[in-house]
Amino acid sequence: MKQLTIYLVVVLISISCASKPEIEDLSKQPNHLSIASLKMEVPENNPQSDAKIRLGARLFFEPLLSRDSSVSCGSCHLKQYAFSDTIAFSDGVGDKKVARNSPTIVNVGFQPHLMAEGGVETLELQVIAPLENEDEMDLEVIEACKRLNGIPYYQSFFERVWSDSATPFTLTRSIASFERSIVGGTSSFDAFVAGDSNALSDNEQNGMNLFYSKRLGCETCHSGPLMTNFKIENNGLNEEYADNGLFRLTLNSEDKGKFKVPTLRNIDQSYPYMHDGRFTSLGQVIDHYSSGGQPHPNRHHSITGFELSEQEKADLISFLQSLTDERFQ
Protein backbone atom coordinates (compact mmCIF):
# COMPACT_ATOMS: atom_id res chain seq x y z
CA MET A 1 0.00 0.00 0.00
CA LYS A 2 2.88 2.28 0.89
CA GLN A 3 4.46 1.59 -2.48
CA LEU A 4 1.23 2.38 -4.25
CA THR A 5 0.99 5.68 -2.40
CA ILE A 6 4.51 6.55 -3.56
CA TYR A 7 3.52 5.72 -7.13
CA LEU A 8 0.53 7.98 -6.94
CA VAL A 9 2.50 10.81 -5.40
CA VAL A 10 5.11 10.52 -8.11
CA VAL A 11 2.43 10.53 -10.73
CA LEU A 12 0.61 13.49 -9.26
CA ILE A 13 3.89 15.42 -9.13
CA SER A 14 4.54 14.40 -12.70
CA ILE A 15 1.14 15.65 -13.75
CA SER A 16 1.49 18.94 -11.91
CA CYS A 17 4.92 19.50 -13.45
CA ALA A 18 4.03 18.16 -16.83
CA SER A 19 5.15 20.26 -19.72
CA LYS A 20 3.43 17.83 -22.12
CA PRO A 21 -0.28 18.60 -22.00
CA GLU A 22 -0.94 16.01 -24.69
CA ILE A 23 -0.63 13.18 -22.14
CA GLU A 24 -4.27 12.37 -21.59
CA ASP A 25 -4.51 9.91 -18.78
CA LEU A 26 -1.23 9.52 -16.96
CA SER A 27 -2.97 9.37 -13.60
CA LYS A 28 -3.82 5.75 -14.16
CA GLN A 29 -0.42 4.74 -15.45
CA PRO A 30 1.41 3.22 -12.44
CA ASN A 31 -0.82 0.26 -11.70
CA HIS A 32 -1.97 0.28 -15.25
CA LEU A 33 1.55 -0.34 -16.53
CA SER A 34 3.06 -2.51 -13.83
CA ILE A 35 3.68 -6.12 -14.77
CA ALA A 36 3.44 -6.91 -11.06
CA SER A 37 -0.21 -5.93 -11.23
CA LEU A 38 -0.96 -8.73 -13.66
CA LYS A 39 -2.36 -12.02 -12.49
CA MET A 40 -1.32 -15.05 -14.46
CA GLU A 41 -4.00 -17.64 -15.05
CA VAL A 42 -2.62 -21.11 -14.39
CA PRO A 43 -4.73 -24.14 -15.35
CA GLU A 44 -5.93 -26.24 -12.43
CA ASN A 45 -4.43 -29.35 -13.97
CA ASN A 46 -1.02 -27.76 -14.34
CA PRO A 47 0.06 -25.90 -11.21
CA GLN A 48 3.55 -24.44 -11.28
CA SER A 49 6.36 -26.21 -9.44
CA ASP A 50 10.10 -25.70 -9.50
CA ALA A 51 10.81 -29.25 -10.62
CA LYS A 52 8.28 -29.06 -13.42
CA ILE A 53 9.69 -25.74 -14.61
CA ARG A 54 13.17 -27.28 -14.70
CA LEU A 55 11.89 -30.23 -16.68
CA GLY A 56 10.09 -27.85 -19.02
CA ALA A 57 13.26 -25.82 -19.49
CA ARG A 58 15.21 -28.94 -20.33
CA LEU A 59 12.58 -29.93 -22.88
CA PHE A 60 12.41 -26.41 -24.30
CA PHE A 61 16.05 -26.64 -25.31
CA GLU A 62 15.92 -30.33 -26.32
CA PRO A 63 16.61 -30.86 -30.06
CA LEU A 64 15.42 -34.47 -29.78
CA LEU A 65 11.96 -33.00 -30.02
CA SER A 66 12.50 -32.26 -33.72
CA ARG A 67 12.34 -34.86 -36.49
CA ASP A 68 16.04 -34.77 -37.30
CA SER A 69 17.12 -33.66 -33.82
CA SER A 70 18.42 -30.42 -35.27
CA VAL A 71 16.26 -27.77 -33.62
CA SER A 72 14.52 -27.15 -30.33
CA CYS A 73 12.01 -24.56 -29.15
CA GLY A 74 15.04 -22.61 -27.98
CA SER A 75 16.50 -22.52 -31.50
CA CYS A 76 13.86 -19.98 -32.57
CA HIS A 77 13.34 -18.41 -29.15
CA LEU A 78 16.80 -17.31 -28.05
CA LYS A 79 17.06 -16.18 -24.46
CA GLN A 80 19.52 -13.36 -25.22
CA TYR A 81 17.01 -11.87 -27.66
CA ALA A 82 14.09 -11.96 -25.25
CA PHE A 83 13.31 -15.48 -26.41
CA SER A 84 12.83 -14.42 -30.04
CA ASP A 85 15.02 -14.78 -33.14
CA THR A 86 17.05 -12.24 -35.06
CA ILE A 87 16.04 -13.36 -38.54
CA ALA A 88 12.71 -12.95 -40.32
CA PHE A 89 12.02 -16.66 -40.59
CA SER A 90 13.83 -19.04 -38.29
CA ASP A 91 15.39 -22.28 -39.46
CA GLY A 92 13.25 -25.36 -39.01
CA VAL A 93 14.14 -29.00 -39.61
CA GLY A 94 16.24 -29.82 -42.65
CA ASP A 95 16.49 -26.78 -44.86
CA LYS A 96 13.04 -25.48 -44.05
CA LYS A 97 12.09 -22.06 -42.79
CA VAL A 98 9.24 -21.36 -40.43
CA ALA A 99 6.30 -19.48 -41.92
CA ARG A 100 6.22 -16.54 -39.52
CA ASN A 101 8.61 -14.46 -37.51
CA SER A 102 9.35 -15.92 -34.08
CA PRO A 103 7.81 -13.65 -31.42
CA THR A 104 9.21 -13.04 -27.97
CA ILE A 105 7.76 -15.37 -25.37
CA VAL A 106 8.71 -13.23 -22.38
CA ASN A 107 5.48 -12.74 -20.39
CA VAL A 108 3.70 -15.19 -22.67
CA GLY A 109 1.91 -16.68 -19.66
CA PHE A 110 -0.19 -13.53 -19.44
CA GLN A 111 -1.50 -13.80 -22.97
CA PRO A 112 -5.15 -14.79 -23.34
CA HIS A 113 -4.59 -16.39 -26.73
CA LEU A 114 -1.58 -17.50 -28.70
CA MET A 115 -0.25 -17.72 -32.25
CA ALA A 116 -0.35 -14.80 -34.67
CA GLU A 117 -4.05 -15.26 -35.37
CA GLY A 118 -4.86 -15.98 -31.75
CA GLY A 119 -6.27 -19.42 -32.47
CA VAL A 120 -4.80 -21.23 -29.49
CA GLU A 121 -6.10 -20.51 -26.03
CA THR A 122 -3.63 -22.26 -23.75
CA LEU A 123 0.11 -22.60 -23.60
CA GLU A 124 -0.36 -26.33 -23.14
CA LEU A 125 -1.99 -26.68 -26.55
CA GLN A 126 0.32 -24.17 -28.15
CA VAL A 127 3.25 -26.46 -27.42
CA ILE A 128 1.89 -28.92 -29.96
CA ALA A 129 1.92 -26.43 -32.83
CA PRO A 130 5.66 -25.95 -33.41
CA LEU A 131 6.41 -29.55 -32.51
CA GLU A 132 4.16 -30.97 -35.21
CA ASN A 133 4.46 -28.19 -37.80
CA GLU A 134 6.29 -29.67 -40.78
CA ASP A 135 8.30 -26.47 -41.32
CA GLU A 136 9.34 -26.20 -37.69
CA MET A 137 10.12 -29.30 -35.62
CA ASP A 138 8.02 -31.76 -37.63
CA LEU A 139 7.69 -34.40 -34.94
CA GLU A 140 4.39 -35.80 -33.76
CA VAL A 141 3.94 -35.42 -30.04
CA ILE A 142 3.33 -39.16 -29.73
CA GLU A 143 6.72 -39.83 -31.33
CA ALA A 144 8.38 -37.17 -29.18
CA CYS A 145 7.11 -38.95 -26.08
CA LYS A 146 8.43 -42.28 -27.34
CA ARG A 147 11.86 -40.74 -27.81
CA LEU A 148 11.90 -39.24 -24.34
CA ASN A 149 10.69 -42.44 -22.73
CA GLY A 150 13.65 -44.25 -24.29
CA ILE A 151 16.13 -42.08 -22.40
CA PRO A 152 16.79 -42.97 -18.73
CA TYR A 153 17.45 -39.33 -17.83
CA TYR A 154 13.99 -38.29 -18.97
CA GLN A 155 12.37 -41.45 -17.61
CA SER A 156 13.48 -40.54 -14.13
CA PHE A 157 12.85 -36.81 -14.58
CA PHE A 158 9.26 -37.34 -15.70
CA GLU A 159 8.71 -39.94 -13.00
CA ARG A 160 9.97 -37.53 -10.36
CA VAL A 161 7.84 -34.62 -11.54
CA TRP A 162 4.71 -36.40 -12.71
CA SER A 163 4.89 -39.94 -11.31
CA ASP A 164 4.32 -40.83 -14.93
CA SER A 165 6.17 -41.17 -18.21
CA ALA A 166 6.36 -38.62 -21.01
CA THR A 167 2.87 -38.39 -22.49
CA PRO A 168 1.18 -35.69 -24.56
CA PHE A 169 -0.26 -34.44 -21.29
CA THR A 170 2.95 -34.34 -19.25
CA LEU A 171 5.14 -33.12 -22.10
CA THR A 172 2.94 -30.18 -23.02
CA ARG A 173 2.31 -29.22 -19.41
CA SER A 174 5.99 -29.25 -18.54
CA ILE A 175 7.00 -26.95 -21.37
CA ALA A 176 4.02 -24.67 -20.68
CA SER A 177 5.09 -24.39 -17.05
CA PHE A 178 8.56 -23.30 -18.08
CA GLU A 179 7.12 -20.73 -20.47
CA ARG A 180 4.92 -19.33 -17.70
CA SER A 181 8.04 -18.81 -15.63
CA ILE A 182 9.54 -16.44 -18.21
CA VAL A 183 8.38 -13.13 -16.78
CA GLY A 184 9.90 -9.71 -17.25
CA GLY A 185 9.46 -6.52 -15.31
CA THR A 186 13.11 -5.54 -14.87
CA SER A 187 13.40 -2.81 -17.48
CA SER A 188 14.20 0.85 -16.96
CA PHE A 189 10.59 1.60 -17.72
CA ASP A 190 9.51 -0.78 -14.95
CA ALA A 191 11.78 1.08 -12.52
CA PHE A 192 10.24 4.35 -13.67
CA VAL A 193 6.74 2.99 -13.25
CA ALA A 194 7.76 1.78 -9.79
CA GLY A 195 8.59 5.32 -8.76
CA ASP A 196 12.21 5.91 -9.78
CA SER A 197 11.80 9.12 -11.74
CA ASN A 198 15.46 8.98 -12.76
CA ALA A 199 15.13 5.56 -14.35
CA LEU A 200 14.30 7.09 -17.71
CA SER A 201 16.41 9.75 -19.38
CA ASP A 202 14.86 12.96 -20.63
CA ASN A 203 14.87 11.60 -24.16
CA GLU A 204 13.20 8.39 -23.04
CA GLN A 205 10.58 10.35 -21.13
CA ASN A 206 9.95 12.52 -24.16
CA GLY A 207 9.53 9.34 -26.17
CA MET A 208 7.16 7.97 -23.54
CA ASN A 209 5.08 11.11 -23.69
CA LEU A 210 4.88 10.81 -27.46
CA PHE A 211 3.97 7.15 -27.19
CA TYR A 212 1.03 7.88 -24.90
CA SER A 213 -0.05 10.97 -26.80
CA LYS A 214 -3.25 11.17 -28.79
CA ARG A 215 -1.20 12.53 -31.63
CA LEU A 216 0.48 9.19 -32.21
CA GLY A 217 -2.18 6.97 -30.67
CA CYS A 218 0.16 4.03 -30.05
CA GLU A 219 -1.74 3.17 -26.88
CA THR A 220 -4.89 2.49 -28.87
CA CYS A 221 -3.51 -0.99 -29.48
CA HIS A 222 -0.34 -1.13 -27.39
CA SER A 223 -1.93 -0.60 -24.01
CA GLY A 224 -1.56 -1.99 -20.51
CA PRO A 225 1.47 -3.43 -18.75
CA LEU A 226 2.41 -5.62 -21.70
CA MET A 227 1.71 -2.86 -24.19
CA THR A 228 -0.80 -4.87 -26.14
CA ASN A 229 -4.55 -5.11 -25.98
CA PHE A 230 -4.18 -8.67 -27.36
CA LYS A 231 -6.65 -7.91 -30.14
CA ILE A 232 -6.21 -9.22 -33.65
CA GLU A 233 -5.89 -6.28 -36.03
CA ASN A 234 -4.84 -5.29 -39.52
CA ASN A 235 -2.09 -2.70 -39.29
CA GLY A 236 -1.98 -1.83 -42.97
CA LEU A 237 1.10 -3.75 -44.01
CA ASN A 238 -0.24 -4.81 -47.43
CA GLU A 239 -2.99 -4.31 -49.93
CA GLU A 240 -2.96 -8.07 -50.55
CA TYR A 241 -1.76 -10.59 -48.01
CA ALA A 242 0.03 -13.84 -48.76
CA ASP A 243 -0.60 -14.83 -45.15
CA ASN A 244 -4.16 -13.89 -44.29
CA GLY A 245 -3.80 -14.20 -40.53
CA LEU A 246 -7.10 -14.46 -38.66
CA PHE A 247 -8.99 -15.23 -41.87
CA ARG A 248 -7.49 -18.73 -41.74
CA LEU A 249 -9.53 -19.31 -38.62
CA THR A 250 -12.75 -17.46 -39.26
CA LEU A 251 -12.96 -17.50 -43.07
CA ASN A 252 -14.48 -14.05 -42.74
CA SER A 253 -13.07 -11.61 -45.30
CA GLU A 254 -13.23 -8.87 -42.69
CA ASP A 255 -10.47 -10.74 -40.87
CA LYS A 256 -8.00 -10.77 -43.72
CA GLY A 257 -4.58 -9.52 -42.84
CA LYS A 258 -5.33 -9.41 -39.12
CA PHE A 259 -2.65 -10.50 -36.68
CA LYS A 260 -2.33 -10.31 -32.95
CA VAL A 261 -1.10 -6.99 -31.61
CA PRO A 262 2.32 -7.91 -30.23
CA THR A 263 3.69 -6.91 -26.87
CA LEU A 264 6.19 -4.08 -27.03
CA ARG A 265 8.03 -5.37 -23.99
CA ASN A 266 11.62 -6.14 -25.02
CA ILE A 267 10.84 -4.82 -28.48
CA ASP A 268 14.43 -3.66 -29.05
CA GLN A 269 15.62 -7.25 -28.57
CA SER A 270 12.94 -8.99 -30.57
CA TYR A 271 13.68 -7.65 -34.05
CA PRO A 272 12.86 -8.11 -36.87
CA TYR A 273 9.29 -6.92 -36.70
CA MET A 274 5.81 -7.83 -37.97
CA HIS A 275 4.50 -11.33 -38.60
CA ASP A 276 6.85 -11.70 -41.55
CA GLY A 277 9.84 -9.93 -40.06
CA ARG A 278 9.89 -7.33 -42.84
CA PHE A 279 11.22 -4.49 -40.71
CA THR A 280 14.66 -4.83 -39.23
CA SER A 281 14.69 -1.67 -37.14
CA LEU A 282 12.37 0.28 -34.89
CA GLY A 283 12.90 3.24 -37.18
CA GLN A 284 11.33 1.35 -40.05
CA VAL A 285 8.38 0.39 -37.88
CA ILE A 286 7.81 4.02 -36.91
CA ASP A 287 8.10 5.05 -40.55
CA HIS A 288 5.39 2.51 -41.41
CA TYR A 289 2.92 3.90 -38.89
CA SER A 290 3.94 7.46 -39.72
CA SER A 291 3.03 6.82 -43.35
CA GLY A 292 -0.39 5.44 -42.44
CA GLY A 293 0.38 2.08 -44.01
CA GLN A 294 -1.11 0.51 -47.09
CA PRO A 295 -4.78 0.94 -47.99
CA HIS A 296 -6.74 -2.14 -47.00
CA PRO A 297 -10.45 -2.35 -46.12
CA ASN A 298 -9.58 -4.01 -42.81
CA ARG A 299 -6.86 -1.60 -41.76
CA HIS A 300 -7.38 -0.40 -38.20
CA HIS A 301 -9.10 2.97 -38.10
CA SER A 302 -6.43 4.50 -35.91
CA ILE A 303 -3.65 4.00 -38.47
CA THR A 304 -3.88 7.25 -40.34
CA GLY A 305 -0.31 8.50 -40.22
CA PHE A 306 1.43 11.26 -38.32
CA GLU A 307 4.43 13.52 -38.57
CA LEU A 308 7.48 13.31 -36.35
CA SER A 309 10.66 15.32 -36.25
CA GLU A 310 13.91 13.40 -36.35
CA GLN A 311 14.44 14.19 -32.68
CA GLU A 312 10.99 12.98 -31.77
CA LYS A 313 11.56 9.80 -33.69
CA ALA A 314 14.87 9.26 -31.87
CA ASP A 315 13.19 9.88 -28.53
CA LEU A 316 10.40 7.45 -29.32
CA ILE A 317 12.97 4.79 -30.20
CA SER A 318 14.81 5.53 -26.96
CA PHE A 319 11.63 4.97 -25.03
CA LEU A 320 10.96 1.66 -26.78
CA GLN A 321 14.52 0.60 -25.94
CA SER A 322 13.82 1.31 -22.29
CA LEU A 323 11.33 -1.57 -22.32
CA THR A 324 14.15 -4.12 -22.44
CA ASP A 325 14.45 -6.49 -19.50
CA GLU A 326 18.00 -6.79 -18.25
CA ARG A 327 17.75 -10.54 -17.86
CA PHE A 328 16.81 -11.20 -21.47
CA GLN A 329 19.63 -9.48 -23.32
Binding site: L125, N133, I142, P168
Partner: protein
Amino acid sequence: MPLNLSKYIPILILTALVGCKGEVPPFDLVEQDPKVVLEFNVVNQGEEIGIGDDFVDEKQWQLNLSTLKMYLSDIALIEGGELTELADVELVDLAGSGSVPGFSSSYTYIIPKGNYDQLRMSIGLPSDLNSTDPTIMPASDPLSLQSAMYWDWATMYVFIMMEARIDTNSDLQYDDNIAFHTGLDTLFRPEKSYPLTLDIPAFAKDTLHIDIDWNKIYHPMEGEIIDLSETPFFHANLDEEALATSRNFTDNFVKAISIREQ
Protein backbone atom coordinates in the same frame (compact mmCIF):
# COMPACT_ATOMS: atom_id res chain seq x y z
CA MET B 1 -37.99 -77.34 18.16
CA PRO B 2 -37.44 -73.77 16.94
CA LEU B 3 -37.80 -73.17 13.19
CA ASN B 4 -34.48 -72.23 11.53
CA LEU B 5 -35.55 -69.77 8.81
CA SER B 6 -32.06 -69.03 7.60
CA LYS B 7 -31.85 -72.23 5.58
CA TYR B 8 -35.00 -71.21 3.68
CA ILE B 9 -33.67 -67.80 2.60
CA PRO B 10 -32.23 -69.00 -0.75
CA ILE B 11 -35.52 -70.72 -1.55
CA LEU B 12 -37.44 -67.57 -0.67
CA ILE B 13 -35.23 -65.43 -2.91
CA LEU B 14 -35.57 -67.86 -5.81
CA THR B 15 -39.34 -67.96 -5.34
CA ALA B 16 -39.46 -64.17 -5.33
CA LEU B 17 -37.44 -64.00 -8.53
CA VAL B 18 -39.65 -66.51 -10.30
CA GLY B 19 -42.70 -64.67 -9.05
CA CYS B 20 -41.39 -61.44 -10.61
CA LYS B 21 -40.76 -63.08 -13.95
CA GLY B 22 -41.69 -60.02 -15.98
CA GLU B 23 -38.91 -57.96 -14.37
CA VAL B 24 -36.12 -60.49 -14.69
CA PRO B 25 -33.61 -59.40 -17.34
CA PRO B 26 -33.18 -61.67 -20.38
CA PHE B 27 -30.85 -64.58 -19.82
CA ASP B 28 -28.14 -63.35 -22.14
CA LEU B 29 -28.81 -59.93 -23.58
CA VAL B 30 -25.47 -59.61 -25.35
CA GLU B 31 -25.66 -62.97 -27.07
CA GLN B 32 -29.14 -62.65 -28.44
CA ASP B 33 -28.89 -59.04 -29.57
CA PRO B 34 -27.82 -58.70 -33.17
CA LYS B 35 -24.69 -56.98 -34.35
CA VAL B 36 -24.27 -54.55 -37.18
CA VAL B 37 -20.98 -53.82 -38.85
CA LEU B 38 -20.37 -50.49 -40.55
CA GLU B 39 -17.70 -51.03 -43.16
CA PHE B 40 -16.36 -48.03 -45.02
CA ASN B 41 -15.04 -48.20 -48.58
CA VAL B 42 -14.01 -45.86 -51.36
CA VAL B 43 -15.46 -46.99 -54.67
CA ASN B 44 -14.67 -46.10 -58.25
CA GLN B 45 -17.21 -47.12 -60.88
CA GLY B 46 -18.55 -49.83 -58.62
CA GLU B 47 -15.16 -51.23 -57.59
CA GLU B 48 -13.75 -50.88 -54.10
CA ILE B 49 -10.42 -49.07 -53.84
CA GLY B 50 -8.04 -49.77 -51.00
CA ILE B 51 -5.18 -47.66 -49.73
CA GLY B 52 -2.29 -47.96 -52.18
CA ASP B 53 -4.50 -49.15 -55.04
CA ASP B 54 -4.06 -47.78 -58.55
CA PHE B 55 -7.23 -46.82 -60.39
CA VAL B 56 -8.50 -44.78 -63.32
CA ASP B 57 -11.52 -42.63 -62.55
CA GLU B 58 -14.41 -41.59 -64.79
CA LYS B 59 -12.43 -38.65 -66.17
CA GLN B 60 -9.52 -40.95 -67.00
CA TRP B 61 -7.25 -39.64 -64.29
CA GLN B 62 -4.69 -42.23 -63.25
CA LEU B 63 -4.66 -42.21 -59.46
CA ASN B 64 -3.38 -43.98 -56.39
CA LEU B 65 -5.31 -43.57 -53.15
CA SER B 66 -3.02 -42.88 -50.23
CA THR B 67 -5.24 -41.72 -47.35
CA LEU B 68 -8.84 -41.54 -46.31
CA LYS B 69 -9.56 -40.62 -42.74
CA MET B 70 -12.67 -38.93 -41.43
CA TYR B 71 -14.56 -38.16 -38.29
CA LEU B 72 -18.17 -39.23 -37.98
CA SER B 73 -20.27 -38.22 -35.02
CA ASP B 74 -23.75 -38.85 -33.61
CA ILE B 75 -24.00 -42.14 -35.46
CA ALA B 76 -27.39 -43.81 -35.10
CA LEU B 77 -29.74 -46.26 -36.74
CA ILE B 78 -33.35 -45.18 -37.09
CA GLU B 79 -36.41 -47.40 -37.04
CA GLY B 80 -39.65 -45.56 -37.72
CA GLY B 81 -38.29 -42.39 -36.23
CA GLU B 82 -36.86 -44.13 -33.14
CA LEU B 83 -33.12 -43.69 -32.70
CA THR B 84 -30.67 -46.37 -31.67
CA GLU B 85 -27.42 -44.57 -30.98
CA LEU B 86 -24.30 -46.38 -32.11
CA ALA B 87 -21.47 -43.99 -31.21
CA ASP B 88 -20.80 -40.38 -30.30
CA VAL B 89 -17.73 -40.19 -32.48
CA GLU B 90 -15.62 -42.52 -34.60
CA LEU B 91 -12.49 -41.99 -36.62
CA VAL B 92 -12.73 -43.94 -39.83
CA ASP B 93 -9.34 -44.77 -41.26
CA LEU B 94 -9.32 -46.71 -44.49
CA ALA B 95 -5.80 -47.87 -43.71
CA GLY B 96 -7.27 -49.56 -40.64
CA SER B 97 -5.18 -50.44 -37.67
CA GLY B 98 -2.05 -50.46 -39.81
CA SER B 99 -2.12 -46.69 -39.86
CA VAL B 100 -3.31 -45.77 -36.41
CA PRO B 101 -3.73 -48.47 -33.76
CA GLY B 102 -7.29 -48.60 -32.50
CA PHE B 103 -8.82 -46.79 -35.46
CA SER B 104 -10.38 -48.77 -38.23
CA SER B 105 -12.27 -48.89 -41.50
CA SER B 106 -15.05 -50.91 -39.88
CA TYR B 107 -16.91 -50.72 -36.60
CA THR B 108 -19.22 -53.25 -34.99
CA TYR B 109 -22.15 -52.35 -32.75
CA ILE B 110 -24.62 -54.39 -30.74
CA ILE B 111 -28.14 -53.22 -31.46
CA PRO B 112 -31.67 -54.32 -30.59
CA LYS B 113 -33.35 -56.50 -33.20
CA GLY B 114 -35.49 -54.43 -35.50
CA ASN B 115 -36.32 -53.17 -38.94
CA TYR B 116 -34.18 -50.11 -39.45
CA ASP B 117 -34.82 -47.72 -42.31
CA GLN B 118 -32.08 -45.09 -41.97
CA LEU B 119 -28.50 -44.62 -40.89
CA ARG B 120 -27.94 -41.15 -39.50
CA MET B 121 -24.52 -39.64 -38.98
CA SER B 122 -22.83 -36.27 -38.91
CA ILE B 123 -19.77 -35.67 -41.06
CA GLY B 124 -17.10 -34.05 -38.92
CA LEU B 125 -17.30 -32.99 -35.30
CA PRO B 126 -19.74 -30.65 -33.56
CA SER B 127 -18.07 -27.60 -32.08
CA ASP B 128 -17.98 -28.95 -28.52
CA LEU B 129 -16.03 -32.02 -29.62
CA ASN B 130 -14.00 -29.97 -32.09
CA SER B 131 -12.60 -27.97 -29.19
CA THR B 132 -11.45 -31.02 -27.23
CA ASP B 133 -8.00 -30.88 -25.64
CA PRO B 134 -6.38 -33.91 -27.31
CA THR B 135 -3.63 -34.15 -24.73
CA ILE B 136 -6.06 -35.27 -22.05
CA MET B 137 -7.62 -38.01 -24.17
CA PRO B 138 -6.42 -41.61 -23.82
CA ALA B 139 -4.41 -42.86 -26.79
CA SER B 140 -7.19 -45.17 -27.95
CA ASP B 141 -9.74 -42.35 -28.11
CA PRO B 142 -10.48 -41.08 -31.62
CA LEU B 143 -9.88 -37.52 -30.40
CA SER B 144 -6.40 -38.20 -29.03
CA LEU B 145 -3.26 -36.98 -30.77
CA GLN B 146 -2.83 -40.58 -31.91
CA SER B 147 -5.38 -39.77 -34.60
CA ALA B 148 -2.93 -37.43 -36.36
CA MET B 149 -6.00 -35.36 -37.30
CA TYR B 150 -5.38 -32.39 -35.01
CA TRP B 151 -4.85 -28.92 -36.43
CA ASP B 152 -2.57 -27.66 -33.69
CA TRP B 153 -2.34 -24.06 -34.93
CA ALA B 154 -6.10 -23.68 -34.63
CA THR B 155 -6.77 -26.22 -31.86
CA MET B 156 -9.35 -28.12 -33.84
CA TYR B 157 -9.58 -31.25 -35.88
CA VAL B 158 -9.39 -32.09 -39.55
CA PHE B 159 -12.77 -33.60 -40.41
CA ILE B 160 -11.87 -35.33 -43.66
CA MET B 161 -8.38 -36.14 -44.90
CA MET B 162 -8.32 -37.55 -48.40
CA GLU B 163 -5.05 -37.87 -50.29
CA ALA B 164 -4.03 -39.47 -53.55
CA ARG B 165 -1.20 -39.43 -56.02
CA ILE B 166 -2.05 -38.38 -59.54
CA ASP B 167 -0.55 -38.70 -63.00
CA THR B 168 -1.19 -35.23 -64.42
CA ASN B 169 0.46 -35.65 -67.84
CA SER B 170 -0.50 -39.21 -68.74
CA ASP B 171 3.06 -40.50 -68.74
CA LEU B 172 2.13 -43.33 -66.37
CA GLN B 173 4.13 -41.69 -63.60
CA TYR B 174 2.61 -40.17 -60.50
CA ASP B 175 3.94 -36.65 -60.51
CA ASP B 176 1.74 -34.77 -58.08
CA ASN B 177 -0.43 -35.13 -55.01
CA ILE B 178 -4.02 -34.32 -54.22
CA ALA B 179 -4.57 -33.52 -50.57
CA PHE B 180 -7.92 -32.45 -49.23
CA HIS B 181 -7.88 -31.66 -45.54
CA THR B 182 -11.14 -30.08 -44.55
CA GLY B 183 -12.07 -28.87 -41.11
CA LEU B 184 -13.55 -25.88 -39.30
CA ASP B 185 -16.96 -25.67 -37.65
CA THR B 186 -18.47 -24.22 -40.82
CA LEU B 187 -17.65 -27.42 -42.67
CA PHE B 188 -19.43 -29.63 -40.14
CA ARG B 189 -22.36 -31.38 -41.82
CA PRO B 190 -24.77 -32.53 -39.12
CA GLU B 191 -27.31 -35.34 -39.08
CA LYS B 192 -27.17 -36.64 -42.60
CA SER B 193 -29.58 -39.52 -43.13
CA TYR B 194 -29.02 -42.38 -45.56
CA PRO B 195 -31.92 -44.75 -46.37
CA LEU B 196 -31.52 -48.48 -45.92
CA THR B 197 -33.51 -51.62 -45.27
CA LEU B 198 -32.02 -53.49 -42.38
CA ASP B 199 -34.30 -56.17 -40.99
CA ILE B 200 -32.13 -57.75 -38.38
CA PRO B 201 -33.40 -60.51 -36.07
CA ALA B 202 -31.95 -61.74 -32.80
CA PHE B 203 -28.55 -63.48 -32.95
CA ALA B 204 -27.88 -62.08 -36.46
CA LYS B 205 -24.88 -60.15 -37.70
CA ASP B 206 -25.25 -57.90 -40.70
CA THR B 207 -22.83 -55.65 -42.53
CA LEU B 208 -23.62 -52.26 -43.96
CA HIS B 209 -21.13 -51.15 -46.58
CA ILE B 210 -20.76 -47.39 -46.47
CA ASP B 211 -19.54 -46.60 -49.97
CA ILE B 212 -17.88 -43.29 -50.72
CA ASP B 213 -17.93 -42.76 -54.46
CA TRP B 214 -14.74 -41.09 -55.71
CA ASN B 215 -16.38 -39.80 -58.86
CA LYS B 216 -19.29 -38.25 -56.99
CA ILE B 217 -16.81 -36.27 -54.90
CA TYR B 218 -14.78 -34.88 -57.79
CA HIS B 219 -16.97 -35.22 -60.90
CA PRO B 220 -20.55 -35.13 -59.57
CA MET B 221 -23.58 -35.02 -61.83
CA GLU B 222 -25.12 -32.71 -59.23
CA GLY B 223 -22.93 -30.27 -57.36
CA GLU B 224 -19.74 -28.42 -58.09
CA ILE B 225 -17.10 -30.24 -60.10
CA ILE B 226 -13.62 -30.18 -58.62
CA ASP B 227 -11.17 -29.96 -61.48
CA LEU B 228 -8.19 -32.08 -60.51
CA SER B 229 -6.09 -30.52 -63.26
CA GLU B 230 -6.45 -27.13 -61.61
CA THR B 231 -6.38 -28.35 -58.06
CA PRO B 232 -3.36 -30.59 -57.96
CA PHE B 233 -2.73 -29.80 -54.35
CA PHE B 234 -5.06 -28.34 -51.84
CA HIS B 235 -5.04 -27.63 -48.18
CA ALA B 236 -8.12 -26.30 -46.50
CA ASN B 237 -8.91 -22.71 -45.64
CA LEU B 238 -5.87 -20.78 -46.74
CA ASP B 239 -7.82 -18.38 -48.89
CA GLU B 240 -11.33 -17.85 -50.23
CA GLU B 241 -10.78 -19.95 -53.35
CA ALA B 242 -9.48 -22.83 -51.29
CA LEU B 243 -12.37 -22.43 -48.89
CA ALA B 244 -14.87 -22.59 -51.74
CA THR B 245 -13.22 -25.77 -52.98
CA SER B 246 -13.26 -27.11 -49.47
CA ARG B 247 -16.99 -26.44 -49.17
CA ASN B 248 -17.63 -28.09 -52.53
CA PHE B 249 -15.53 -31.07 -51.51
CA THR B 250 -17.42 -31.44 -48.24
CA ASP B 251 -20.85 -31.11 -49.79
CA ASN B 252 -19.96 -33.51 -52.59
CA PHE B 253 -18.52 -35.92 -50.04
CA VAL B 254 -21.78 -36.01 -48.10
CA LYS B 255 -23.69 -36.80 -51.31
CA ALA B 256 -21.13 -39.38 -52.40
CA ILE B 257 -22.00 -41.64 -49.48
CA SER B 258 -24.42 -44.49 -50.04
CA ILE B 259 -25.21 -47.68 -48.22
CA ARG B 260 -24.96 -51.13 -49.67
CA GLU B 261 -26.26 -54.07 -47.67
CA GLN B 262 -24.65 -57.47 -47.84
